[in-house]
């Protein structure tokens, strides 16, 4: 495939034509927030709305996970418009996320914490109130790992791992709007589903929604927070 030359934040970059900007940038250690992007996905879902960048000559920020690189394009990862959208999308996600980092198995390895760190955002709500709503109970039926939807950001990484990597098809997205959720077919518990407990989905989850039920975690359940607060 032919190579193209372009710039990200003024830096000259060369990459195969048509590759999506998000992955090119990350490869060159240029951070762009992202949750739902999957490099292998032909048609990215582009649902998290965090990976915005600005391209010179285009009036509005665009999502970089869907943006094929082109010869001569000039990309900026930080502009007032981009920062504003990222800040908003981030706060919106937090408003529907049970924020208790200290008690979360993903503490310090969480993509939300990384975004906050990289972009100087706070892990707390500023303008918005937390959405008051009921989440389904934690599904720990497999005894290997558990799924806590109150931490899920609906990125779809687990669904991809299950359907495209493990090729099992135990989970998928269901329901609409605010009720959109990751679930098994007909919403049965994981233990009753075709899930093989391979754990690929757990490894794929960027936040603490899917987590292994290992000893460390059981200690945390007792209220201790060995890793401390960030």
């Amino acid at each position: 495939m032919s190579e193209v030359k372009f710039t990200i934040d003024g830096r000259e970059i060369t990459a195969p034509a048509g590759e999506k900007l998000l992955w090119v940038a990350l490869k060159h250690d240029i951070y762009i927030p992202h949750l739902c992007g999957i490099q292998e996905e032909q048609r990215p879902g582009a649902g998290c709305r965090l990976c915005f960048v600005e391209v010179e000559g285009q009036a509005h920020p665009v999502t970089s996970c869907t943006l094929p690189v082109r010869e001569g394009m000039a990309v900026k990862t930080r502009t007032p418009a981009v920062d504003r959208l990222v800040r908003s999308a981030f706060e919106l996600l937090l408003s529907d996320h049970r924020l208790q980092c200290g008690k979360c198995p993903k503490n310090r390895a969480c993509a939300l914490q990384q975004i906050a760190r990289e972009r100087g955002l706070k892990l707390k709500l500023n303008r918005l109130k937390p959405l008051q709503r009921e989440f389904p109970p934690v599904d720990d039926s497999t005894a290997v790992f558990a799924c806590d939807r109150s931490r899920c950001v609906l990125c779809g990484q687990c669904v991809w791992a299950d359907q495209q990597v493990a090729k099992v098809g135990a989970i998928g997205f269901s329901r609409r709007g605010l009720n959109r959720t990751v679930s098994t077919f007909t919403g049965m518990e994981l233990a009753d589903s075709p899930c093989t407990k391979c754990g690929l989905c757990v490894e794929a989850c960027p936040v603490g929604a899917l987590y292994f039920l290992d000893d460390n975690w059981k200690n945390l359940q007792g209220g201790q927070t060995p890793k401390g607060k960030i």
């Binding site: 048609r43 582009a46 998290c48 908003s88 918005l128 605010l178």
Partner: protein
């Protein structure tokens, strides 16, 4: 004599057969009854049966024919009687009594009962026609012209009125020529966004991939919109013909009509239309004797609003969840099953046969240079003459509301017009001289959208209206993307708090920021346009928001939490008891002096007592903010 081409000859034969079949009918009286969904809802089927019954009783030889909607839905059920020797006359609000009179007086005794007639369908010396109606002066029916005047279930009616002549002509043209004509007409998509249809077709025609599809979007999910349904129910062949022409132009051999399953009548009539078109050789292999093959199928949509969005529609047709996708790729490169696809709205296709028949120049004579042709609107809300109207693009909102819709009923004052469906904008009095076209509306913060127009008067609270429309889009959000799923919900929560008097001024800033971010950041147009009602009301009716927050006052006296019902002692008649009985919670009571009063602790603000209080007293009034009560009570003690 010029040589007729094969297609032309085949077409002429079809047409002559149709005319020959219909000619004898002209000798006996014909009764048309509008049985589109609007007519049916008003009792058209009962009227049909009453006519049949009465004709039998009186031994009158007349034919009863079901037609679609004429756009005068306020007067349904409608019946038209065409008796040889009289102009065809249309009667509104027909009931069984009127049926009896019409059959006896008119059909038996030649008295057309002019006192009950609404309008004559053709020019004559006796009775006015639609063109003499105030709205007739402004209306210009292009795609609705035949609606309500032909039998949608008999293709011969369409054929006899020049139907499929455009197709016959197109089959003798080169396909690029067809596209050129549609492009020259600058036909813009009527599904909302106004994208030029010819440009879309050209993109599909230019693809290397040879399997191509044509899809008609009849999902029509906007509440209050029913023009696409009406066209499919009233004149399905017009749309079918437009689709066949499009298929020829882009080289497609298969197409679909995506019709929402809540439209069973439309689905039935389209199915009949497809069947009859196939029987006449207008669909299927070797259309009109040419070497062009094309067939059409109906896909009954699952019904979610978001499925009207192109990529979601395709996903749902492929059996996947009906969720939108990022674009590009556009449907014209990768649509249904990854193949190049034309997706157009019902109305867009309906214009096509007319443009081919009469030419691009004819089409451009109506409307504005940027938005040629007509616009079809469903007028609703506080307007004297609601219904389906077709006016030239460029008509001003003022003409639409006051001349076509006959203004605001009662002595009420106009406040705003909400145009474009739930994702449209609310425009104030000052915007009434804006011409209706794709670009001017967009500039003002509204959209052409589905063509829903809701007229609002002084009794409508703009915060509640914004909340009402946002609630619809919020509930219809598919949930795939962050801004629309969560942003619309937070906006709704803020609006709800404001209508309850629990808002803060800083909420308005948050609301505006969120609205702008949802607009800029959402994945599909549902999210991108959902904030329009909020942004436009914030822009044009900011004071109303402020009053709710700063004074806990609802200027339109509509928000239940910000009003109190009060019975003015100086107006109340001691002798009347109407309000007391009307209250469902026994909040209204009779004071020792005989006057009525309201126990505020019990009142549920249902409005019953206000409605029950006789007009001559009008003693029940609404106060906002509720704190006014204390003042009132103090002053009357």
């Amino acid at each position: 004599m010029s040589m007729l081409s094969t297609t032309e000859k085949t077409y002429q034969e079809l047409r002559q057969k149709a005319e020959a079949k219909l000619a004898p009918l002209a000798d006996k009286p014909l009764i048309w009854i509008g049985t589109a969904t609007c007519g049916k809802a008003a009792g058209a089927l009962e009227v049909r049966e009453a006519f049949k019954e009465e004709l039998k009783n009186k031994g009158v030889d007349a034919r009863v024919m079901e037609v679609g909607c004429m756009g005068h839905c306020y007067a349904e059920p409608l019946a038209v009687i065409a008796k040889p020797g009289f102009p065809a006359l249309c009667y509104g609000k027909v009931d069984e009594g009127l049926v009896k009179r019409l059959v006896d007086d008119f059909l038996v005794h030649d008295d057309p009962c002019y006192e009950f007639a609404m309008v004559a369908l053709e020019a004559n010396d006796i009775f006015p026609t639609f063109a003499d109606f105030p709205r007739g002066v402004y209306e210009e029916k292009i795609i609705l012209e035949q609606c309500g005047f032909i039998d949608p279930e008999d293709i011969d009616h369409y054929l006899a009125k020049d139907g499929y002549a455009a197709l016959a002509r197109v089959l003798d043209m080169e396909s690029p020529q067809v596209i050129k004509e549609v492009k020259a007409a600058n036909l813009r998509g009527r599904g909302g966004a106004g994208f030029p249809a010819g440009v879309k077709w050209e993109a599909v025609a230019g693809q290397a991939e040879q399997t191509r599809y044509v899809i008609c979007n009849a999902d029509e999910g906007d509440p209050g919109a029913f023009m696409d349904r009406s066209i499919l129910e009233s004149n399905p062949h017009l749309v079918v013909e437009g689709m066949i022409i499009c298929a020829y132009a882009v080289g497609a051999s298969h197409g679909y009509l995506y019709i929402r399953s809540e439209y069973p009548q439309a689905i039935r009539r389209v199915r009949t239309a497809l069947q009859q078109a196939r029987e006449r050789g207008l669909l299927g292999n070797s259309i009109l004797g040419s070497d062009f093959n094309f067939d059409l199928e109906i896909f009954a949509g699952a019904g979610a609003f978001v499925c009207g969005e192109g990529t979601a529609l395709i996903n749902s047709m492929e059996g996947k969840l009906g969720l939108p996708e990022h674009r590009p790729p556009r449907l014209s490169t990768a649509g249904l099953r990854g193949k190049p696809t034309v997706l157009n709205n019902v109305k867009t296709f309906a214009y096509v046969p007319l443009i081919i028949k009469k030419g691009a120049e004819w089409f451009k004579n109506t409307g504005t240079p940027g938005s040629p042709g007509t616009a079809v609107f469903a007028l609703a809300g506080k307007v004297a003459n609601p219904g389906l109207v077709e006016v030239p693009m460029g008509t001003t909102l003022r003409q639409l509301i006051y001349d076509v819709g006959q203004g605001i009923p009662g002595d009420k004052k106009f406040k705003a017009v909400q145009i474009g469906g739930p994702s449209g904008g609310c425009l104030p009095e000052a915007a009434l001289d804006i011409p209706i076209d794709f670009d001017s509306l967009k500039e003002a913060g509204a959209i052409m959208g589905s063509g829903g127009v809701v007229i609002l008067d002084e009794d409508d609270c703009m915060v509640r209206i914004a909340r009402y429309f946002l609630k619809f889009t919020q509930q219809e959000s598919c949930g795939k993307c962050t801004f629309c799923r969560l942003g619309t919900r937070h906006m709704l929560d803020i609006l709800t708090a404001i209508t309850r008097g629990e808002g803060k001024l800083s909420d308005l800033e948050t609301l505006r920021e969120l609205a702008e971010d949802v607009q800029a950041g959402s994945l599909c147009n549902l999210g991108k346009t959902a904030p329009n009602p909020v942004l436009t009301t914030l822009k044009y009716f900011y004071d109303e928001y402020r009053a709710h927050i700063k004074e806990k006052r609802c200027p339109a006296l509509m928000c239940p939490d910000l009003i109190a019902y009060y019975i003015a002692p100086e107006k109340c008649s001691k002798l009347c008891n109407a309000c007391v009985g009307s209250c469902p919670v026994e909040a209204v009571y009779t004071r020792e002096d005989g006057l009525k009063a309201i126990n505020q602790g019990k009142c549920v603000k249902c409005d019953n007592c206000l409605k029950a209080c006789p007009f001559e007293y009008n003693a029940v009034i609404k106060l906002s903010p509720p704190s006014l009560l204390e003042e009132k009570e103090r002053s009357t003690k």
